[in-house]
Symmetry: C2
Subunit: 225 residues, 2 copies
């Protein structure tokens, strides 16, 4: 990792995830090397874009041979921090939280769910359906559990009206990054990165685009307007 991390453009970091995905696929196919040209073709990017992105992190690849797939996978995982296991916690054992706690894709990337919290007294002490080794804890346990289990990332899956309060408590407990599924813009005092997914918003955007691609329906509306 370079000392200039702060100056790496966000789109470059985003593309690192894409490169990693593609390289892992090549690795499964037992491809040992790949050129920036072939990598670019698969991802619909220019080879110069790929070389420029990777140049932020050092010198990779050999002219005429390309990149060593295994080496580049290790390097990108190290840059992204997914070459280690992260303990994560989840707040909100409702419908969405239950779905997320059942999702094994996180563990595959090294994100290990080690604690689940909820404010509902009826849920506290009951096992997490998808992971019966875990019992749902009250939010009053938050600080202690974060410290004891060395948890740095949290998934916030509580309803909109509780999301800001929970986020503040997560930051106060020492959580350093929040994966936010609550449909609100969090306003955090400390410099804690937040990554947000709003599934309903995404569906709304898709719905709008589908309506656009249906000119007959739209003309109907216009006639009555």
């Amino acid at each position: 990792m370079t000392k200039n991390d702060q100056h790496i453009p966000a789109p470059t970091i985003r593309r690192l995830s894409l490169y990693l995905r593609q390289l892992e696929m090549l690795w499964m196919e037992e491809k040992k090397t790949v050129s920036s040209k072939d990598l670019g073709k698969a991802l619909r990017l220019t080879d110069s874009q790929i070389r420029k992105d990777l140049a932020y992190f050092g010198q990779f690849g050999q002219p005429g041979i390309g990149y060593d797939v295994g080496e580049l996978i290790s390097t990108i995982r190290h840059i992204l921090g997914t070459d280690q296991t992260w303990n994560i916690l989840l707040v909100g054992a409702g419908n969405l939280g239950a779905a997320l706690s059942a999702y094994r894709g996180f563990a595959k990337k090294g994100f290990q769910l080690v604690a689940v919290f909820d404010s509902d007294p009826k849920k506290i002490g009951t096992p997490v359906p998808a992971n019966r080794e875990l019992k749902i804890q009250p939010l009053t346990d938050l600080n202690q559990t974060v410290r004891e289990r060395d948890i740095r990332l949290a998934i916030n899956a509580v309803p909109a009206d509780a999301a800001q309060d929970v986020a503040d408590r997560l930051v106060a407990a020492g959580i350093r990054g929040i994966f936010n599924f609550a449909p609100v813009n969090l306003d955090l005092a400390a410099e804690v990165p937040v990554s947000s997914v709003d599934l309903a918003v995404q569906l709304e955007q898709l719905s709008f685009q589908v309506r656009l691609s249906a000119p007959v329906d739209d003309r109907d509306q216009a006639d009555h307007a």
Copy 2:
């Protein structure tokens, strides 16, 4: 809806979802009107931005009074197409698919899951765990079910190596928008909008940012480099 839909910038459409979220919150609090200034303050946007976005769709709001909350909610829902119920289908009854079929947030926005498909012969004919009225169907039923149930949107939650094939079959069956959870870039022949969520990529990006905000760890790495 105006006839100029095609020329509305994507960020404007994205912000409509944010406005809607905020307006629904105000509605719950029984606020009947809101100024563009107050709306902007809540969403950390300028009031001129909000007025400009809404002007694409007509004249709203009255000077000195602001927007009628209920009216603006109806209008934005109509623009986004979420004032109607959409039948949606899900392909992929694995771990992520099961989680998504359990998520009630879609139904709240008018997206009704009416069919679930999988290619695994052992799963076909078995009930969907989260919605026992539905039975998992084989992909050979796709065309007929899409036609019979008037399904326009599909959630693609199959593994990466099957995602492109499934997407092609969805488009061939007449699906007009795909909500893609498979970690691949879909390459579609027809002009079918795709909205993608890659949970692992989002966690990777968050992990990177958390590493950045941990200067001590980074210095450790640099010492050994």
